[in-house]
């Protein structure tokens, strides 16, 4: 096992990577505060594939923004391997819900950007970027600008860019939401392949129960203002074939429980 762990071998499975305690986030609008998250506690373990499941507006994206260190919390603490998160860290890759590719850069130049910012050698980072472009199935579009690509292709380019920084923890905000079913399955498989045996930790946000069950070790269902409705360990065997898994009785059972939890979460 230890031979396949590329990242931080001194960190054992079960250690907390991300730890959230009493986290609240308010957005001030006029003389009112909108509460996005209230008193959230969450512990993400090393090497875990955690899916945050929730309906729109339950604060999933806000929680990821806080975990990524993009915005400060109103109150409460977030730690990454024990140290407080105050600003973005390069060990954490974050794929936001909206495309943030630089429109003036070609696909390859976008993908290599994290390494460019670290000041890495031009030919080396270009080689890595080209490999990643191929990995996400964008061969032939290396020199295209984002506006010349479809929404799904931009998504894949964004994924490649995040992977280019070789992060040890991945935060993914509905990364495959806008893709067609085929491509979605392909990229889910690709993501699992990247994650399995790498020791990486993944926090994956979605509102799709099936996607959650195909991917996750553990599904946390969020209700209003980030209330944790259900924390479910998924013990389905891997690798999970998206077509076969659907008829597995354990899948059906978990699906029913998650669905009920989502309904409950909508109530305050």
């Amino acid at each position: 096992m230890s031979a396949t762990v590329q990242k931080a071998p001194e960190r054992a499975a079960g250690d907390a990577v991300l730890e959230v305690r009493g986290l609240s986030k308010h957005f001030t609008k006029g003389d009112e505060d909108l509460v996005a998250l209230r008193d959230v506690d969450l512990r993400v373990e090393q090497g875990q594939f955690l899916v945050l499941l929730g309906r729109s507006g339950c604060g999933k994206s806000t929680l990821l923004n806080l975990l990524a260190g993009l915005t400060p919390a109103t109150s409460g603490a977030i730690t990454y391997h024990g140290s407080a998160i105050t600003r973005p860290r390069t060990e954490v890759g974050y794929l936001t819900q909206h495309d943030t590719l630089m429109p003036w850069r070609t696909v390859t130049r976008n993908v290599e950007m994290p390494r460019e910012l670290r000041g890495e050698d031009k030919t080396e980072r270009n080689r890595i970027a080209l490999d990643l472009v191929q990995l996400v199935g964008l061969s032939g579009f290396e020199n295209h600008y984002p506006r010349e690509l479809s929404g799904g292709m931009r998504r894949r380019a964004s994924l490649a860019r995040m992977l280019c920084s070789d992060p040890e923890t991945l935060l993914l905000d509905e990364p495959f939401g806008a893709l067609d079913a085929q491509l979605r399955t392909e990229l889910q498989g690709e993501l699992l392949r990247l994650w399995q045996g790498s020791g990486r930790t993944v926090v994956f946000v979605t509102h799709d129960i099936e996607e959650a069950l195909v991917l996750a070790d553990r599904v946390v269902v969020l209700g209003q203002v980030g209330r944790i409705v259900l924390d479910l360990a998924v013990d389905l065997p891997r690798p999970r074939d998206p077509d076969d898994i659907r008829v597995d009785p354990r899948f059906v059972d978990a699906h029913r429980r998650l669905s009920a939890a989502l309904k409950e979460g909508a109530l305050r």
């Binding site: 973005p88 936001t96 199935g137 061969s139």
Partner: protein, 287 residues
């Protein structure tokens, strides 16, 4: 029917069929189809120009007094005289120098200051009303003051052109800086970039559109600034030629100068359009 019928539309190159890259086929449009419309537009432009010139020439004399409206032949004659004795070149050169220097000075200072001040939101908010007030001053009103400060030489015209250009470029670039997508800045922060990276790799390229808009619309104003300076006080330049000709009641001379001025403006515009094309290659494809 169990077999699928192959549908062919245009020639699919064998390479495109085997790789995963974009499918490229010939657009199937000939030279005429691709350039026909542009050609027609140019033909109509030429036709319109010729029609106006012919009408002007025919009406000037029998209907309109050439003393007031001049005539194409009179203008051509005057241009011929001026080319022959060198008046045209020396005066045009003086004005072109003033325009170019004024434009470079104003645009450079405007763009630089915008990049320095616009990202500092508080400083910008403090300065904003003052900048708008200064921007609203008609730059002609500054001419007498500039004569006092800089004399009636070339400096005065260059600075008058520069001030006009400065505000336009400054405000447009600042708007470009302010409209930078927050998501792109966050993306660079997530990749571990600092303020410097954000400024160079996001703000600068993102605000290029604003800068180019500023440059493009300020070109006529550089010309206005320089010519107004010359009209107010000078003994050289195209503005001086207009003043001198009209003082002698020489309408041919006034119109001849106006023709030269519009040619200068057209050439400058074409230059900036070229610049804009080069910098905005990432804009959407032509459909």
């Amino acid at each position: 029917m169990s077999t699928t019928t192959p549908v062919t539309q245009g020639d699919v190159s064998p390479a495109a069929a085997t790789t995963t890259g974009p499918l490229r086929i010939s657009s199937g449009k000939g030279f005429r189809q691709r350039h026909g419309r542009t050609g027609a537009v140019w033909a109509w432009r030429l036709l319109l120009l010729v029609a106006v010139i012919v009408l002007w020439q025919v009406l000037s004399g029998p209907v309109l007094d050439p003393q007031f409206v001049s005539s194409p032949s009179g203008i051509a004659g005057r241009l011929g005289d001026w080319i022959a004795d060198g008046t045209l070149w020396t005066n045009t050169w003086v004005t072109v120098q003033e325009i170019v220097l004024g434009f470079l000075l104003g645009a450079g200072a405007g763009a630089l200051l915008a990049y320095l001040i616009a990202p500092l939101r508080v400083v910008w908010d403090v300065l904003d009303p003052f900048l708008m007030a200064l921007y609203a001053i008609p730059k002609v009103a500054l001419a007498p003051l500039f004569i006092v400060w800089f004399g009636i030489g070339t400096d005065m015209k260059v600075l008058l052109a520069a001030v006009t250009v400065f505000f336009i470029v400054f405000l447009n670039t600042a708007a470009g800086v302010h409209e930078v997508d927050r998501g792109l800045i966050d993306a660079v922060r997530l990749m571990g970039g600092g303020r410097r990276d954000i400024a160079l790799k996001v703000t600068l390229p993102a605000s290029m559109t604003g800068l180019l808009t500023g440059l493009r619309i300020s070109i006529p104003y550089a010309l206005i600034g320089a010519v107004i300076g010359e009209l107010v006080a000078s003994n050289r330049g195209l503005g001086y030629l207009i003043n001198d000709s009209s003082a002698k009641f020489d309408t041919d001379g006034v119109f001849a100068t106006l023709v030269v001025l519009s040619i200068v403006a057209a050439v400058l515009n074409a230059l900036v359009t070229l610049l804009g094309r080069r910098a905005n290659r990432w804009k959407p494809l032509d459909t």
